[in-house]
């Protein structure tokens, strides 16, 4: 019983991190039809920035998080204009894969040059290190925090997409790009804003998840498969799909590692194949919310 | 049944969500038929072709080829029964040459595409048949040209050549002259005139000159329904056809 509870908590926390990072990838894939393999590199870069801000400069955790997200978004926006804009559209799949792999390599090399190859930590503030009592059970505060942030992200994204004019335009453009352009939606600015949203989410996930997905230069390559798996299972462009997929895969992966440590990976990928076989377009294909 | 029509369509219907794009269409084609299907833009002509050829499944109705019910069969199976179509929007292999297109079509028809170690250029009889097809459509000069660089009219001719390479029994041409400059459309007409006599042809076309020259029988489709059918004279005299067309004549083409 204890293990089941432990798996549930860890699995959900892990799933929430996967969700926060992957949903950005999902939205950019859904709208701009770009398979962005550098997405994990953005998350990693933000983690490093936060680690530097917190450890070397001594900023508080919250401030380091905000600084890392902002810096990552500002630093990647020129990339949207210079690189990504040339490869939008599903006809460019192979070029997207290669260009973004190339970008990933460059970021990995750059991170290693700036911060060295060793593992980096983002020290947690006092209030996130203890345990939280929930009646008979108690869970690590950090896990509870991550789960809370994940839930808040789902709500905030839901609100953003359903209730704001940005969201309406975004959904229109995902459903029918030609029609959206005909209605006078300025796709160029919309793309840029969506890209910023995607990298911002990646950055946030990279910082929040540093305890679960440890920061080292190969992070960008090691975890991108995981993020892509979430997007493929969730269906490109779908928030609730991404959440469902991230939580499912997070729990499956965690359960595999707890219960059958020798075959953890095996079950994760077997689940992936089965799901994609049953739902080749993901759980919630083509719906922006 | 010896005299079953080559193609027989009964009560064919299709809904996209709530939108009924084809409703209860019945028609048939016999040996040697030269039939045209006309109707304003969005009438559901291409959808009808897609239903008949098996690209999309119908909501209701049956399709028979020479008496065999093929409603549940795949597009490929229908092709093997001799039901061949050309595409309204050219669907060609853009980086492949004209010759390669025709080679592929002939190889498909004769079931030789799974040979892994055969050299395409040395397969007996292939080169001759391809040469004949090229000649027939006046494409010999561009045989080695990549199709993506061909003029549009020549792409349309290749469409027809590809269909003929399949030795069809029933040929459905979806707007064979669409996008072809008027100066070139005589080539298409010439090509159509030289189609084998016992072939049943259904042509979809907006160009009425072409329709009247080619078709012995005309079927009019409007809003997914079969409005009427008859000879050119009967159709032009029919007030319902005028009604359907007057509103949209300007756009039609």
């Amino acid at each position: 019983m204890e293990t089941v509870f432990g798996i549930a908590v860890d699995g959900v926390a892990y799933g929430m991190i996967l969700f926060i990072i992957s949903v950005g990838l999902s939205v950019t894939l859904g709208l701009m039809r770009v398979v962005n393999l550098a997405h994990g590199a953005f998350a990693m870069a933000a983690g490093y920035v936060a680690s530097y801000a917190a450890q070397t400069m001594g900023l508080p955790y919250g401030l380091a998080l905000v600084a890392a997200v902002l810096l990552t978004v500002v630093a990647t926006l020129p990339l949207e204009k210079l690189l990504y804009r040339r490869i939008y559209g599903s006809a460019n799949e192979l070029r997207q894969v290669l260009l973004t792999i190339g970008l990933t390599f460059v970021i990995v090399a750059g991170i290693n040059y700036l911060f060295g190859p060793t593992l980096k930590r983002i020290p947690l503030p006092e209030m996130l290190t203890g345990t939280l009592d929930l009646g008979p059970k108690s869970i690590p505060t950090h896990r509870a925090f991550v789960i809370g942030m994940g839930a808040a992200t789902i709500l905030a994204l839901w609100w953003l997409l359903e209730r704001t004019s940005f969201g309406i335009r975004l959904r229109a453009a995902v459903d029918d790009p030609a029609m959206a352009a005909a209605l006078g939606i300025r796709t160029e600015r919309l793309y840029m804003a969506t890209f910023a949203l995607g990298t911002g989410l990646a950055a946030m996930g990279g910082v929040l998840g540093a305890e679960l997905l440890p920061l080292e230069p190969y992070y960008a390559i090691r975890y991108i498969v995981l993020f892509l798996a979430v997007v493929a299972v969730g269906g490109a462009g779908s928030i609730f799909g991404s959440a469902a997929a991230a939580l499912t895969l997070g729990v499956v992966d965690t359960a595999g590692k707890y219960l059958i440590p020798n075959f953890g990976e095996f079950f994760f990928y077997a689940a992936l194949i089965l799901i994609l076989f049953r739902w080749p377009h993901g759980f919630f294909q083509g719906r922006a919310a | 049944m010896i005299d079953a029509p080559l193609l027989q369509v009964d009560g064919l219907s299709k809904n996209f969500g709530g939108l009924q794009v084809s409703s209860n269409i019945s028609m048939d084609l016999r040996k040697g038929d030269r039939c045209a299907l006309i109707g304003p833009n969005g009438a559901g002509k291409t959808t009808f072709v897609n239903l008949v050829t098996g690209v999309i499944p119908p909501t209701a109705g049956t399709i028979r080829i020479e008496g065999h019910d093929v409603t549940r069969q795949s597009a490929e199976a229908r092709v093997r029964r001799g039901l061949i179509r050309s595409f309204q929007v050219a669907r060609l292999f853009r980086s492949m040459t004209v010759r390669e297109h025709l080679e592929l079509a002939v190889l498909e028809r004769t079931g030789r595409t799974f040979r892994l170690f055969a050299n395409v250029r040395r397969i007996p009889g292939l080169a001759d048949e391809v040469a004949e097809l090229l000649e027939g459509m006046g494409l010999t000069a561009v045989a080695e040209t990549a199709v993506g660089t061909l003029a549009y009219g020549q792409q349309r001719l290749l469409e027809i050549a590809l269909a003929l390479a399949m030795k069809p029994k029933v040929l459905i041409l979806d707007e064979p002259a669409a996008g072809v400059p008027h100066s070139e459309s005589h080539r298409i007409l010439d090509a159509l005139d030289r189609l084998p006599d016992d072939l049943a042809v259904l042509m979809i076309e907006h160009d009425m000159d072409l329709v009247f020259r080619f078709a012995k029988r005309i079927i009019v489709l409007a809003q997914g329904q079969l409005l009427c059918s008859g000879t050119a004279a009967e159709i032009t005299a029919d007030p319902r056809v005028r009604e359907v067309y007057l509103g949209s004549r300007a756009h039609a083409h």
Partner: protein, 339 residues
């Protein structure tokens, strides 16, 4: 489609191979083989101390060539091609350790194993497209790797499978300590592999696969089944990848888990695109370039290598979409005074 659009198409010709080279076909056909043989032998004399590396390059070239059959000719974007390579390598290695040690027989074992795994998994996953397919190929390779990792008794798990000691080639040429036989054997296999692969991509089936890549709906309209072509070519490419794996196992004597790894699949894709897809010999060019530069740069610092290859990849995608092999087609007209 309007006439205006079609005009746009006719002007956009630079990426289409419409201008045939002026050389007779027999010359252009023989050229890659001659270059490979002469270049291969020259390298044999010039770098006698690097034969181990050179042999690995040759086997990798065969692997990348098999990826070209899948990616370049069928348009299947895969990041799991190492599944076939690794299966072939392990199959050949296990058979060599336990039963047979004739190198040609081992190549056959590797080819059969690679072909079977490709056939089985291809039939399972090739209905998918785009990102889904990409994920499925990754997942298949990861599962194969996991199985190899867990079947320690057979594969040696993370320690790798060692003790592969092949018998002399054709009973005549012993595998020597300096890797001379290994190298020449690999060169011969690569050249024969190239000739067979070229035969296959020029066969009716190869033609049909190119058609599927460009317009699957038209293939169906011609009465063919796009998926059957894809699965067939995927299986055939699996045979080649399996042979490449077996070749690596035979010539290096060991098989490790990295031979089924994600990065090996990704690297193969990079090598192929560097060289240029859809040409077969582009795979060879790309592999030689990639692995030679890798050898030089990675020996100092792997991150220098990553920086270089990253920038290089981005440059290729942005400025040279046809890969290195397309350079000649682009540069030649300039040299000839422009046309």
């Amino acid at each position: 489609m309007t006439a205006v659009e079609s005009d746009k198409m006719t002007t956009n010709t630079s990426t289409l191979p419409h201008s045939r080279p002026a050389l007779p076909r027999i010359v252009t056909d023989a050229m890659p083989v001659v270059v490979m043989a002469v270049g291969g032998l020259a390298a044999f004399w010039l770098f006698p101390n690097d034969l181990g590396l050179l042999t690995r390059i040759l086997a990798a070239a065969l692997f990348v060539m098999s990826l070209d059959m899948v990616l370049g000719y069928c348009g299947i974007a895969t990041l799991g091609h190492a599944a076939m390579f690794g299966t072939g390598a392990y199959a050949a290695g296990i058979v060599a350790v336990n039963w047979v040690s004739d190198p040609l027989a081992l190549l056959a074992v590797g080819g059969v194993a690679g072909g079977l795994i490709a056939l089985a998994t291809g039939a399972l996953i090739l209905h998918a497209r785009g990102l889904t397919l990409l994920m499925l190929t990754i997942a298949v390779a990861q599962i194969v790797q996991e199985v190899a990792n867990k079947a320690r008794d057979w594969t040696g798990g993370s320690d790798g499978l060692s003790g592969i000691d092949p018998a002399p080639v054709l009973g005549l040429f012993r595998f020597d300590l300096y890797g001379r036989t290994s190298y020449l054997f690999a060169l011969a296999v690569l050249i024969v592999g190239f000739l067979v692969a070229r035969r296959i991509v020029r066969s009716p089936c190869g033609l049909a696969c190119r058609g599927v890549r460009e317009e699957p709906l038209r293939i169906a309209a011609l009465g063919g089944s796009p998926r059957r072509y894809l699965v067939s070519m995927y299986a055939v490419a699996g045979v080649f990848a399996g042979i490449a794996g077996a070749l690596t196992a035979i010539t290096s004597g060991i098989v490790g888990l990295d031979s089924v790894g994600f990065s090996w699949s990704a690297e193969a894709m990079i090598m192929l695109v560097l060289g240029g897809t859809g040409r077969l010999y582009g795979a060879v060019i790309g592999t030689v370039a990639f692995m030679a530069i890798h050898h030089i740069l990675a020996s100092t610092d792997p991150f220098h290598w990553m920086l270089f290859i990253g920038l290089f990849l981005m440059g290729i995608v942005l400025f040279l979409p046809g890969g290195i092999a397309s350079l000649s087609a682009r540069v030649l007209p300039l040299v000839k005074g422009g046309r």
